[in-house]
């Protein structure tokens, strides 16, 4: 059995058959996971400096040199690394006084902060399978982003208290700007909102829950929605990135809605984290610094002079840094153009098992072993459940953790 590290569901029931350096058979692996593992055999990175192939030792030495000489280095990525690698990464940031940030500052950070601080109630995905009768997908399309979400946890499986499952006992709702693949599955409960219309929709739900008629939107359908929410025994809301982008500084309103729903019945929230261990990084950082992301250790070791704020987030830090280490992430293709361009203009060190736009533009490329397949470790699923995995094949490549330890020793 293998654990798939393709998304934050960390499916543990994967059976892989490896034959001469390629996957010949993969059971239970979804299309996304299949691509995640298969790309390793066609897009493998090699140790490189300035586009020329070198030995691994030379690449690591060069990386250490760049970080040592940088005045304001940035360490970015981390969401596709194990907890062990992230721990070493945070220590490295403390040692060189770097700015450390992960993908959550552009992703689910706003919501994750509230969940980890206990302001919004949450539960595990196993609770969802066993007890939940209403799942609300808000601004997310799990059929594409987390293909096995509906079938493993939120809608189709039969749970302890939900033996009749989707046929009778479960309701699935989608709130989105377009009729996504998931919305087709629960077409009766698909609520369309205009772009950036989530706050208004949320206010309408609050009005309906108070027993009043909403001012905007389809009143009949909103009242129907309110009735279902009130009748729910155990509901779960899965907010996605689109909802968080749309809400931004109005997240208090969402907190208010969850609190109001919990007065009536039980409602929990699980953020639809994209990368497999983003939550792990957030939790580690919260434990060590009190902030979930965007922290600068500049000017002192051991957390004495930590600063946190938007200036330490990758969007602004990319412009003020003079070197960056990117690990397990592809910011050059994923982040907005301004940030990506700022990153591309500074010396980059990319640690990645696969080729990407970032490794193409990087000054130093260090190939790593793929977690789950060639390297073991621990990670936190999107609901915070700790999942450990072992490597299933031997590889001469170093894991993220080993590479970071060697860079740290060389500095």
């Amino acid at each position: 059995m293998t654990t798939c590290t393709g998304c934050s569901l960390l499916c543990e029931d994967i059976e892989l058959v490896l034959k001469t350096g390629a996957i010949s058979e993969a059971k239970n692996l979804c299309r996304k996971g299949q691509g995640h593992f298969q790309a390793l055999f066609t897009e493998r990175t090699k140790p490189m400096i300035d586009g020329k192939e070198v030995t691994l030792d030379q690449a690591i030495a060069k990386a250490a040199e760049i970080l040592k000489n940088a005045r304001t280095p940035l360490l970015y990525g981390w969401s596709n690394s194990t907890l062990e690698a992230q721990t070493v990464g945070i220590n490295l940031a403390k040692k060189i006084g770097a700015n450390i940030d992960d993908t959550s500052s552009f992703c689910e950070g706003l919501l994750m902060e509230r969940i980890l601080n206990g302001k919004i109630p949450t539960c595990t995905l196993d609770d969802v399978r066993n007890f939940a009768d209403t799942s609300v997908f808000w601004g997310t399309d799990p059929s594409n982003s987390h293909p096995r979400h509906l079938s493993r946890f939120s809608y189709y499986p039969r749970g302890e208290k939900r033996q009749k499952s989707y046929e009778e006992e479960r309701t699935c709702m989608v709130v989105d700007v377009r009729k996504s693949a998931t919305a087709h599955l629960c077409s009766n409960y698909y609520f369309r909102v205009p772009p950036e219309g989530d706050a208004e929709f949320l206010e309408s739900i609050l009005t309906v829950l108070d027993g009043k008629i909403p001012k905007t939107g389809d009143k009949k359908r909103l009242i129907e929605l309110g009735t279902i929410l009130k009748k729910t025994e155990f509901g779960v809301i899965f907010p996605g990135q689109r909802m968080i982008y749309s809400m931004q500084d109005k997240m208090d309103l969402f907190e208010e809605l969850v609190a109001r729903l919990n007065e009536i019945t039980t409602f929990k929230v699980i953020p639809m984290v994209g990368h497999y261990n983003m939550r792990g990084f957030n939790q580690l950082m919260l434990g060590q610094t009190g902030f979930i992301n965007s922290v600068s250790f500049r000017g002192g070791a051991a957390g004495a002079a930590t600063t946190h704020g938007p200036e330490q987030g990758v969007a602004l830090a990319a412009k003020s840094s003079d070197a960056a280490l990117i690990i397990g992430s592809d910011p050059l293709s994923a982040l907005p153009f301004g940030t990506a361009r700022a990153l591309a203009h500074i010396p980059l060190i990319a640690i990645d098992p696969r080729r990407s736009l970032t490794t193409d533009a990087a000054q130093v490329v260090i190939p790593s072993a793929l977690s789950g397949l060639e390297a073991g470790g621990t990670a936190l699923r999107m609901d915070g459940t700790r999942i450990s995995f072992e490597p299933i094949t031997e590889s001469e490549r170093l894991s993220d953790e080993q590479i970071l330890t060697r860079i740290m020793e060389a500095i």
């Binding site: 029931d13 059976e15 058979e25 299309r31 059929s143 499986p157 693949a181």
Partner: protein, 153 residues
């Protein structure tokens, strides 16, 4: 997916009964259910004026040729490998109550649907509720598919 009406429009519509069925509509339904073949309509083959219709009919019937004995057609290029059908299929659930029923992938070989190499794969079609003369028109797999990768004829 082609419907009986669409096939009917491409038949002679004379109700000549040469195929052994009372009407052309009945023949269209027979074609769709794969109980009849296009060759069994003599006017369509023999008379020249139906040539264009015959060509079109072969075209619309082409996708049905890949259908299995229960009329199942899988489009692997559309499949996400989400496994919704694997978990929803009542035969799968009965075969593996500790795995398929609770959302995990199947272990044994008794299941009908499984996800392999990222796409859905059908086996043991004789176990399907749609198999044989006493079939039940179950649609658990098609109704739960987010990308319409599974279809029944």
């Amino acid at each position: 997916m082609v419907g009986a009406m669409e096939i009917y429009m491409l038949l002679p519509k004379t109700n000549c009964k040469k195929c052994g069925l009372p009407t052309c509509m009945a023949f269209a339904v027979g074609l769709l259910g794969r109980e009849k073949k296009i060759d069994e309509c003599p006017p369509l083959i023999e008379e020249k004026k139906y040539e264009a219709k015959l060509k079109k009919l072969h075209e619309v019937m082409a996708p049905l040729e890949n259908a299995s004995e229960i009329g199942l057609i899988i489009h692997p290029e559309k499949c996400f490998g989400c496994g919704n059908c694997v978990v929803a299929c009542p035969v799968n659930v009965a075969a593996e109550p500790t795995r398929c029923a609770v959302g995990l992938g199947p272990e044994g070989d008794k299941v009908i649907l499984r996800v392999q190499d990222g796409v859905v794969l059908a086996n043991n079609l004789k176990e399907c509720r749609r198999f044989g003369p006493n079939k039940i028109l179950c649609n658990a797999c098609t109704a739960t598919c987010p990308s319409k990768a599974i279809e029944f004829v």
